[in-house]
Structure formats: structure tokens, C-alpha cells
């Protein structure tokens, strides 16, 4: 495999956890709910997926567990913010703090366990085509799943009636409620979907990308996913673009030193975080970009009696 293919593959790999988490958060936010607990949900998804995969020997069982664990975390958030009307910012922070602690607790026995990871699909003949072969026909199954989910989310948001309803609830929950739509129930589903996707992102990290369990291994990816949703101005296509851009920045640090450029490793590790701040500044510079694109009711509690 030549260097170019290797770099593109590594970029896709580093971007995929962000794709899952950010697409999930996109749906959550489109319904008008801001869940800052992505980091916590990813970590719990990662550790539960890893633990089950290590104990059962089945990667796929691990992936399913991670999805369920992410959704379970999201359910806690949903109960707090949608049923108990709690502040969404505070509840999301609580979810992340809780997730960091819980994942460290669950993962204690698994820190030195090694997994085999997931084999690429490798479609015969086609994957042997130079350059495009491995990139199109030799990826791991979860990456193909991420492409499929991207398609599904895009179709759902812009081509389905349910997606229109979801966006409507994000823009004007009172109107949707007045027409008779179950605002709270639909928001529950959107939050749960976001959690399941964050769990899937965590699973990709722990089961495919590394594959290891290390405490706080997400290293801020949940927060970067949140920033990506803003960066994308709530559009799935730009979420993908942003995720791979960040994947590229993440793996840049491994290649810069290989090129013989002598920079402290800490400086290179800062790049994804600095890049996040940079793109956030770029996109928010014009206040109207955010105001026009953000779901109008984002972050606000909704109670049917209001």
C-alpha cells in the first residue's frame, strides 16, 4: 500500500468516530435539544462495547452493546431534561462527568486486554485496483455503516415526513404541540438516537480504531463532535466534511514527525483542539450564519402547559 492510500485510510479511520457522534448529535439538536454529554456517552459506549467484545469474543456483540449503552446514557439525559425540565447545559455536563467516572469504573479490568479489531471487508478483485481499490472496496464494515447512516440521516431530514416533523419541532415546538404532535416523545427519540450514535462512535474508537480501552480515550472527541455540528451549520454533508478534516488534523501529528520536522509532540497534539477553535471562530464570525441555521428552540425546555 502506498503512502497516499495509507494516509487517506488513516484519515477516514480517525474521522469515523466523529461522523457517528456528530450525525447523532445533529439529529438531537435538530429536534431542539442540546446534549453536551456526547463525550460521556461515547466513553460509556466504548467501554461497554470493549468489555462485551473482550468477554464474548464477538466484536459485533460489542458494537451492539455500545449502541445500547450510549442510548441508555442518553435516556438519563432525556428523563432529566424532557420529563424533569432540567437545564440542558447543566444536564449535559453532568452526563459527561458521570460518563467519565462510570467508564473508568467499568473499564478497570480491561485496561491491558488486547483485541484483534475488525478486518476490512476486502471485496475480491475490486479491492486490488491500485489506489481506489483499497479506498472504495477495502474498508472496515463500520465505515461502510457510517456512509449508509449518513445517507439515511440526509434522506430522513430532507426527504421524509418524519424528518420534516423533527425539524419543525426544533424550530417551533409550541406550534407543533398546538397541531397535536407529541413534542416530548419525538424529542425523546431524537435524544436516544443521538446517544446510540455516540455509543457507536465510542465502539469504533475502542473496537476498531485503536483497538484498546484506555481511560478517557475519547480525549475530547465528543466535544469536537459538538463543535462539528455548529461548524456544519446543522447540515449532514458538512458534518462529514468536517469530520474527515479533523481526522486529517489528528493523523497529521503522526506524519509531521515522520517527515523529519522537529516539533514538540505536545504542540502537535494540540492541533485538533486549536483547529476546532479556529473553525468555530470562522463559522460564528457572522452572527447571522448561526442565527439562521441553528434550530430556533435549541436548548430551551418545553412543557406542554406553557
Amino acid at each position: 500500500m502506498d503512502t497516499f492510500t495509507a494516509i487517506v485510510l488513516a484519515t477516514l479511520g480517525a474521522g469515523t468516530p466523529l461522523v457517528f457522534a456528530a450525525l447523532g448529535e445533529l439529529i438531537t439538536e435538530k429536534s431542539g435539544v442540546l446534549n453536551l454529554g456526547v463525550e460521556g456517552m461515547m466513553l460509556v459506549g466504548a467501554v461497554c462495547g470493549f468489555a462485551v467484545a473482550a468477554d464474548s469474543g464477538s466484536i459485533w456483540l460489542g458494537v451492539l452493546t455500545a449502541v445500547a449503552a450510549g442510548a441508555a446514557m442518553a435516556l438519563v439525559f432525556a428523563v432529566l431534561t424532557l420529563t424533569f425540565q432540567a437545564n440542558q447545559v447543566a444536564s449535559g455536563l453532568a452526563l459527561t462527568i458521570f460518563g467519565i467516572g462510570l467508564s473508568a469504573f467499568i473499564g478497570l479490568g480491561y485496561t491491558s486486554v488486547a483485541l484483534d479489531g475488525m478486518d476490512p471487508v476486502r471485496i475480491p478483485v475490486l479491492s486490488d485496483i491500485p489506489v481506489v481499490g483499497p479506498l472504495l472496496f477495502g474498508l472496515d464494515p463500520l465505515m461502510y455503516l457510517s456512509f449508509a447512516l449518513f445517507g439515511a440521516v440526509t434522506w430522513f431530514l430532507y426527504r421524509s415526513k418524519a424528518g420534516l416533523l423533527l425539524r419543525g419541532i426544533g424550530e417551533a415546538p409550541d406550534s407543533a404541540h398546538a397541531i397535536g404532535y407529541p413534542v416530548i416523545r419525538i424529542r425523546y427519540l431524537a435524544v436516544l438516537f443521538g446517544g446510540a450514535m455516540a455509543g457507536l462512535g465510542g465502539a469504533y474508537l475502542a473496537l476498531v480504531y485503536t483497538p484498546l480501552w484506555v481511560e478517557e480515550m475519547t480525549a475530547g472527541r465528543g466535544w469536537i463532535a459538538l463543535a462539528l455540528v455548529v461548524f456544519s451549520t446543522w447540515r449532514p454533508g458538512r458534518v462529514m466534511l468536517g469530520a474527515y478534516l479533523f481526522g486529517g488534523v489528528t493523523i497529521l501529528q503522526f506524519h509531521v514527525q515522520g517527515l523529519g520536522i522537529d516539533l514538540p509532540s505536545q504542540l502537535l497534539s494540540m492541533l485538533p483542539y486549536l483547529a476546532t477553535i479556529f473553525v468555530l471562530v470562522l463559522i460564528s464570525r457572522d452572527i447571522n450564519t448561526i442565527r439562521l441555521n441553528a434550530p430556533a428552540s435549541i436548548g430551551q425546555a418545553f412543557h406542554p402547559s406553557n
Binding site: Q85, A90, I97, F98, F105, A227, V281, S284
Partner: protein, 367 residues
């Protein structure tokens, strides 16, 4: 009977006080069930977690050692939170304050003088403020979300410190360990209670609590920030300067966190290490909420949170539980608090048909 949640006409002051207590009680109950679930005797676990760490003078001193940074940071954060300025970068501001203040200590290595410690504290505060000024500037100038920026900077600050202790500031006689020289005597906070590690930083925290109270209750800008937090539209209509509030909220939080970081390295730690805080910057967010964003409440909440830290360490030694259990219970405590806060603005009652309060209502199918 159907249960209905309906808004109160007025927020309940009583529930405002009761809900933190309710949250603490529910967290304790959860801890009991959790330890029973793990096959332990809940009473033993309770003792190991909450009694054993503080049953002697040294333990009480440790309670203060950990409560001091939490209270200091939380008082600063609460001022921002009151006006909906969400600074969640206290961990980074703490780290950067420790870095700048510790830098002064290393620069003044083997010097003596009463000026060194005040200079370090000032440097710590300025370091924290400098770090907090980044999200403040980006928010006021470019409208950039301060939550995400301040959070990202936590990682950047940690990497800055890591670079320095691995490189330029590494102890030349330290056998290549990533740590700085030990601070000299005049760069260390004095211990204020004999036979404990309780240091002068605890006094600084108490002063901060007092100042926080004055700021919130007596200053005009504190009042403006309160109004902005409760009713943004009203604050804008009154012509309150929103940008100034954002700067104030972030800078005060940054200064407090920076001083807390300096007190850690000039107190219990005594040098710069790759990590100078066991997550105080995040735990202080919980402290601020559990303390109802009120300085006195924060003081009490910081003692409770400190006990959770000590309990986690003690449970690790006595019960073989991982110290990560502390993080779990921190999160659980905040969950319960946020849920209990529902009863400040809402009340639960059995629904009566058409809202009529008929004493004899027909039996309704529960749904």
C-alpha cells in the same frame, strides 16, 4: 390516579433549599444500594466512604485541603453561571494559573523574600485570567460559543504544562522524571494547622467566598448579571452591557481557578507535575450548582464534594473499590439535583377532570 406536572405561579423558595438536601439523601441511598449490589455491607461501605477519612485531625485538614480549591473555583464560576456565561474551562484556567505562578516560583528558585509568594499568587491569577480571556474575546468579538472554546482550551493548557515539565522546566537533578524542581521554602504556602497539610490557600478560599457574596449581593454589575441570567430580554431592554458581563464572568472565573491552581502547586504538591488537579475544574461546576450558585451554599457543597474525593480514596484502600467511583457519584449527585430542581418551578398533583377540585372523583384508569 393520573399524575400531572404543572407549573407553579411562583418558584418555590423552600424547594430551592430542599432540593440540594434531597439530592444528597438520594445520592446516599444510591450509594447504599450500589454497595449492596457489589456484595458489600452497606454500613461498612458508608463508614469507609464518609466517616473513616475524617475521623482524625489530619483527615479534617485534608477535607479543607480539597474543599479550598473547589470552593474558590466554584465561587468564581457561579458568577458567570448566574448570567448564563458558561465557562467550563476552569480545569484549563487552573492548569495555566499553576503554570504561570509555578513559573515565577521556579524563576525565584533559591531566592528568599516575602514578595515571592504574593507575586506567585498574582501570577497565578493573571495566568488563569489570560486563559479565560481567550473564550471571552472570541465570544464578544466573533460570537464564538464559550462552552466549546473554554473546554478545548482545557486540553491545550494540559499539553502546555506537559511540554514544560518534559522539556525546559524539567528538574536537572530529577533523573529525567517529567517534573520540575521542588519549590524553595519561600515559594510555599505556609501550613496553618499543625500536623495537617491545611495551608493558607484555605484562607484565600474563605476570602473569595466573602468577596463573592459582596459581588453578588452588593455590587451593581453583580445585580446586572443576575438580571441577565434570569431575564435576558429585560437586561437588554435596560441597556445592560452584555459584553462587559461576559468579560467579567469569564475573567473572575479564570482568576479564581488560576489562584486555585497556584495554591495546589505551592501547597500540597510543591512542584510542577504533568497533572496538577484531579479534575477540580470539572467538580467545581457541580459544586457551583449544588451550592445554588450562592457563595455560602458553595462553601457547604465544596466540603461535601471534598468528602466525596476523600471517600473515593479511602474506599480504594479499605474496600478495594476504584477511585473512579468518586466521579460516578459526583455525576449521580448532579443528576439528582437537576431532577429535584423540577419542584422549584413545578409541582406534582393528581389530575382532576377539567381541573375541578371535586372531592369525590371518579376512579380513572391509570395510563
Amino acid at each position: 390516579m393520573r399524575i400531572r406536572i404543572e407549573p407553579r405561579a411562583q418558584p418555590s423558595r423552600l424547594m430551592g433549599w430542599l432540593s440540594p438536601l434531597l439530592a444528597v439523601v438520594l445520592t446516599l441511598v444510591t450509594g447504599f444500594l450500589f454497595s449492596a449490589f457489589l456484595g458489600m455491607n452497606p454500613v461498612d461501605a458508608f463508614h469507609a466512604f464518609f466517616v473513616a477519612p475524617v475521623d482524625d485531625l489530619y483527615g479534617l485538614g485534608e477535607l479543607g485541603v480539597k474543599a479550598a480549591p473547589l470552593a474558590l473555583i466554584a465561587v468564581g464560576l457561579a458568577i458567570g453561571f448566574r448570567s448564563n456565561v458558561w465557562n467550563i474551562g476552569a480545569e484549563g484556567q487552573l492548569t495555566f494559573g499553576a503554570l504561570v505562578g509555578g513559573g515565577v516560583a521556579l524563576w525565584a528558585y533559591e531566592m528568599e523574600g516575602a514578595w515571592i509568594l504574593p507575586a506567585m499568587i498574582l501570577a497565578g491569577a493573571l495566568g488563569g485570567m489570560a486563559w479565560a480571556s481567550i473564550p471571552a474575546f472570541l465570544r464578544t468579538r466573533f460570537n464564538t460559543n464559550e462552552i466549546l472554546v473554554s473546554l478545548m482550551l482545557n486540553y491545550v493548557a494540559l499539553l502546555c504544562l506537559s511540554y514544560l515539565v518534559h522539556g525546559p522546566w524539567r528538574d536537572p537533578e530529577g533523573f529525567n522524571f517529567p517534573e520540575s524542581r521542588l519549590f524553595s521554602e519561600s515559594a510555599m504556602l505556609p501550613v496553618i494547622l499543625e500536623d495537617t497539610r491545611l495551608h493558607a490557600g484555605a484562607l484565600l478560599a474563605l476570602v473569595a467566598v466573602g468577596l463573592g457574596w459582596v459581588f453578588v449581593k452588593k455590587s451593581f454589575i453583580g445585580y446586572q448579571m443576575q438580571v441577565a441570567g434570569l431575564a435576558d430580554t429585560a437586561a437588554r431592554y435596560a441597556g445592560f452591557n452584555r459584553k462587559r458581563m461576559i468579560w467579567m464572568g469569564l475573567l473572575i472565573g479564570g482568576a479564581a481557578a488560576g489562584i486555585a491552581g497556584l495554591c495546589e502547586v505551592a501547597g500540597p504538591i510543591g512542584q510542577l507535575l504533568p497533572s496538577v488537579s484531579p479534575g477540580y475544574g470539572y467538580a467545581a461546576i457541580i459544586v457551583a450548582f449544588v451550592g445554588r450558585l450562592h457563595p455560602v451554599g458553595i462553601l457547604l457543597a465544596s466540603l461535601l464534594m471534598s468528602l466525596l474525593y476523600l471517600g473515593g480514596e479511602s474506599a480504594q484502600m479499605e474496600l478495594g473499590l476504584p477511585s473512579a467511583v468518586t466521579g460516578v457519584f459526583q455525576g449521580v449527585l448532579l443528576f439528582y439535583l437537576l431532577a429535584a430542581d423540577l419542584f422549584i418551578n413545578f409541582r406534582i398533583r393528581g389530575a382532576t377532570p377539567q381541573g375541578l377540585r371535586s372531592p369525590s372523583k371518579p376512579a380513572e384508569a391509570s395510563s
